[in-house]
Symmetry: C2
DNA sequence: ATTTGTGCAAATCCTTTGCAGATAA
DNA sequence: TTATCTGCAAAGGATTTGCACAAAT
């Protein structure tokens, strides 16, 4: 392997837990250390790593680019509708209502994807600050 | 309006609750009654209807085409990993764990998207039938 | 020598847009 | 007339693929 795109991607994702970059963002980050890196090589590496279950690709509703994260126990995500950031939610509610759904529908549930949308604590803080300032509280 | 693509789409979606067609499938269905219908007209109508909140477009993880449904109270979906069908889950668990997530993270939750993946009751029935037959039970 | 990884360009696939003509108000 | 809707073709944007060459085994 010439420069090991796959290894670089895994390293990058491990270095920043809670970070959910798109292929393009990953490409931008790697291009620094790997001059001449091709976009398609990143895609190919992402495909390979996904099928090896080293990483997980996921699409958030209303987005058109896939995001990637290190493969771990599947967990919910939270997307801030103000700043766009995506957070991991580290609460184990993944098989939420599994039994209820199974009994109610007769289907068998094997996995659940949950995404919360709202305002993240950081944007919330900014909003509050602004209100306090504007109203001279 | 020449032939009312928007009205046709709403009609089509209302006729079949639990049906989550993609733009292409909607186009195929309408083309019958509307010869000469352009693909782009369907897309434009879907965009308009979505922003009017008459319909809702959503993307399921690992799919690359948007699906559409009549706009109703947001609810979970179930996708069968065998046959690919997408079902509505009519159990009110949408703001599932809202408070828990808010307290735990400090974010404010405004909406939740939940998708279950597994084997639907119909595929399950077929599997069971096959097993019964193969084993001459 | 054989397999695997990579860069580059071209091709796909889904979706959006520009524009001119048709329709409705 | 004025605003809206349409069809058609072209453009966009993300992802995939073919191919020849480079690198590793």
């Amino acid at each position: 392997m010439k420069r090991g795109v796959k290894n670089q991607i895994v390293k990058l994702l491990k270095e920043r837990p809670g970070w959910h970059p798109t292929a393009r963002i990953i490409y931008e980050h790697l291009k620094g250390k790997m001059p001449g890196l091709a976009f398609s090589s990143v895609y190919r590496a992402l495909l390979a790593l996904s099928s090896e279950k080293k990483i997980r690709g996921f699409t958030l509703d209303s987005e058109d680019e896939k995001r990637y994260e290190i493969y771990t126990k599947s967990h919910p995500h939270f997307k801030c509708t103000e700043c766009g950031r995506v957070y991991d939610i580290d609460i184990d509610i993944n098989l939420a209502f599994k039994e209820l759904v199974e009994v109610h529908t007769g289907h068998i549930v094997k996995d659940v994807h949950i995404t919360y949308f709202g305002i993240c604590n950081e944007c919330l803080r900014k909003k509050v600050k602004k209100i306090v300032k504007d109203n001279d509280v």
